[in-house]
């Protein structure tokens, strides 16, 4: 475990494991006090969802296959959203997180234009919940008022809580101890979160062992994301292997 100030939180998302169940989306919505997306919001293109699943069809009907990519804030080391904010409402902290400071934000929406992944969301109205959902809000997460930007924080409240707990118990933070809501909800373990600077963490190991499948989104923009994707495994590539194995059995 590396020391606290040299952490770099990152995520590995195995798109081969993702079955598009949207569990992460719901979990995130609940954990982070995101207002509900109703029909009106969809119609006006004002949906808020810090993590979303993009679905791509492959092939022609009926031989059609769906591919899913969960997209969330990539926490770029070289984030295009950061230098453009006139009030430093978004910046990079020393744990490799791209932070959005709600109280500094004045709502110029410049960062949203700078973001190539379009994962930043603007509060066009004051957020509202149905009466019976009011008491379900997470007290550890700020409720964003109208006129400010918000985005995935890698569940920073959980990171803070986990590190605080480790500190109070006077021990090192264990890998896998902190799980963002999306990872916790993922039914197929497609999402792994951890410290990229720790060579023994699962994220580092995964991104190393699966290096031939590893890719990041939009590398041409040089954003250096902290979210690493593992490509879907092409079954055709292993078809021969399987048939070989079959013939060997006989």
């Amino acid at each position: 475990m590396v020391t606290e100030d040299k952490r770099s939180w990152g995520m590995v998302i195995d798109t081969d494991k993702c079955n598009g169940c949207s569990g992460c989306v719901t979990a995130c919505q609940v954990e982070n006090n995101i207002p509900l997306n109703d029909q009106n919001k969809f119609e006006r293109g004002r949906v808020m969802s810090w993590i979303r699943i993009e679905r791509y069809w492959e092939g022609e009907f009926p031989d059609v296959k769906a591919r899913f990519i969960p997209i969330l804030c990539q926490h770029c080391a070289n984030a295009p959203c950061e230098p453009v904010c006139p009030v430093y409402a978004t910046y990079h902290n020393d744990e490799g997180l791209n932070i959005q400071v709600y109280n500094r934000c004045v709502g110029t929406r410049y960062c949203a234009n700078g973001c190539p992944y379009i994962v930043r969301f603007f509060n066009y109205w004051e957020p509202a919940w149905p009466e019976d959902l009011r008491n379900h809000l997470n007290p550890d997460v700020t409720i964003r008022s109208r006129g400010i930007m918000e985005k995935c924080s890698f569940c920073i409240q959980r990171i803070k809580r986990g590190s605080r707990k480790a500190k109070e118990e006077n021990r090192e933070l264990q890998d896998g101890e902190i799980k963002p809501a999306c990872q916790e909800a993922c039914s197929t373990n497609a999402i792994v979160f951890g410290d990229l600077n720790d060579p023994n963490s699962e994220v580092s190991k995964l991104s190393k062992s699966e290096s031939d499948r590893k890719y990041t989104l939009m590398p041409q923009l040089n954003t250096d994301p902290n979210v690493v994707y593992l490509a879907t495994i092409d079954p055709l590539k292993y078809k021969d292997l399987g048939e070989k194995a079959k013939s060997n059995e006989h």
Binding site: P86, C105, T108, R109, W125, G147
Partner: protein, 467 residues
């Protein structure tokens, strides 16, 4: 009354009387027009209040089109503001004589359009009431200052510098006229003009100081003039994520476009001034002629830059960029807007200006200059909105953006607001500089070359008085 003196120049008495007709008396249309405009302006302010109270949901903005009509209009007004310095400073330095009656109008257009432009980022921001964080370096307890790297932070600095400079520039040129007004008014107004005229007596030393001040300010204003729209353009150009924005040509392209629209706005204004106050002897067809020639050159350069921008958009053979351009140029409804933009921005007005008969026809110049500004507004719209509404790989809201009536009203409001400010200004200060007009009458003469009589201009050699 005799209009021309014995040297066939417009008499100074006549000049004073006619050019002060909006200030010392009130045209008949003034009060009705001002009250109508005031009505619209007040409604606009009420709407701002509503927007601040309920949030930006009242606009048609969405994801990913986060910037829409407000920013378009902001850029548009910043563009219009480039008229003033272009006409007063650049033409002063290049000694273009025909600038004289136009300077004042261009400068106040600059000031009021800039003041209006400055309002738009405030309207546009999500939390207008927090903007004090943004404009003023605030208390150091938090140890965080505004982000100097952000073009959006440089914007207010550049614009307010330009505004301050333009105001000074206007004031320096206004002093002799204020003295004229001081000597012709009584009571409260006299007091007002006396204070503003700073004790102007018109002695040689004061004149020299006034000229030196004007030249110094011209030279100082030029870099600011260029920087303002360059920085506005970098608001867009520095974002690599938006294909249609990340272009190196943006700064000069925006500046030249701004001059195009700004000078056109001055033409519109001159026609209105001529009609409204009857200054036919001072705002003459040859001024329109000269402005139209300037506009022809500027517009052609601007079209060249537009062409270069499109050329390089296609140059990279990048699929997203080509998809964006295809949407911008060929897909409904952008294609109609694009066609209108090209027609009104260049294809209709500029060939018209090639004919002297058009250039000296005030009505035609009026309408063609309005066409230009429709085109230039659309240009900004077509850069900003399709750039954001592009077919990005991660968003499925492609139908993009249709501005709400709220935004349209704010656009309308901005025109009412600028016009109102100008009309109020005209009631207090003369819109055509009296002293420039008289100076030009004194300096111009005509000589006979062969059989032709050619107008001449006396040019003082300012440099020699340095020693």
């Amino acid at each position: 009354m005799q209009q021309r003196d014995n040297q066939n120049r417009l008499s100074q008495e006549y000049t004073n009387r006619v050019l002060l007709n909006g200030t010392l008396s009130t045209p008949r249309w003034w009060y009705p027009l001002v009250s109508v405009l005031l009505f619209f302006v007040v409604i606009g302010f009420i709407l701002f209040g509503i927007q601040i109270k309920y949030g930006l949901g009242v606009t048609g903005l969405n994801r990913p089109v986060y910037w829409g009509l407000y920013i378009t209009t902001f850029v548009f007004w910043v563009g219009i503001s480039h008229a003033g310095i272009m006409i007063s400073a650049i033409l002063r330095i290049t000694q273009a004589e025909w600038r004289r009656p136009v300077t004042r109008a261009a400068e106040i257009l600059t000031i009021f359009s800039l003041a209006t432009a400055l309002v738009f980022p405030l309207i546009h921001a999500g939390r207008t009431w927090r903007i004090v964080y943004w404009l003023i370096p605030y208390d150091a307890a938090r140890g965080i200052w505004p982000n100097i790297r952000s073009p959006l932070f440089m914007d207010p600095i550049a614009i307010s510098t330009y505004l301050t400079g333009s105001t000074l520039f206007l004031f320096v040129a206004l002093i002799p006229d204020l003295a004229v007004l001081r000597d012709r008014t009584t009571g409260f107004r006299k007091g007002f003009y006396t204070i503003l005229a700073l004790g102007w007596r018109g002695n040689p030393r004061q004149w020299k100081m006034q000229v030196v001040g004007g030249i110094l300010l011209s030279a100082l204003m030029l870099p600011i003039f260029v920087s303002v729209h360059s920085i506005v353009s970098w608001d867009f150009a520095v974002t690599p994520a938006v294909e249609g924005w990340h272009s190196t040509i943006f700064a000069p392209y925006f500046v030249i476009g701004a001059v195009h629209s700004g000078v056109s706005a001055v033409v519109t204004m001159m026609a209105l001034m001529r009609w409204g106050w009857g200054w036919n002897d001072f705002i003459r067809p040859e001024h329109f002629d000269a402005l139209a020639r300037l506009l022809t050159v500027v517009a052609t350069a601007w079209l060249g830059f537009t062409f270069l921008e499109l050329l390089f958009a296609l140059y990279g053979l990048d699929a997203p960029e080509i998809a964006l351009r295809e949407m911008q140029i060929f897909q409904y409804p952008w294609n109609l807007l694009f066609l209108t933009f090209l027609l009104t921005g260049y294809i209709l007005p500029v060939p018209m200006w090639l004919f002297k008969r058009v250039r000296t026809n005030i009505a035609l110049m009026f309408w063609s200059s309005i066409l230009v500004n429709i085109g230039m507004w659309l240009e900004r719209f077509l850069i900003i909105v399709p750039g954001l509404a592009r077919k990005s790989p991660f968003v499925f809201t492609w139908e993009a953006y249709s501005p709400s009536w709220f935004e349209w009203y704010v656009l309308f409001w901005s025109f009412c607001w600028v016009t109102l400010l100008m009309l109020l200004f005209s009631r207090v200060f003369p819109l055509v500089p009296l002293f420039e007009q008289k100076e030009s009458e004194v300096f111009s003469d005509s000589i006979k070359i062969g059989r032709a009589t050619v107008p001449t201009i006396f040019r003082e050699e300012e440099e020699e008085e340095e020693d």
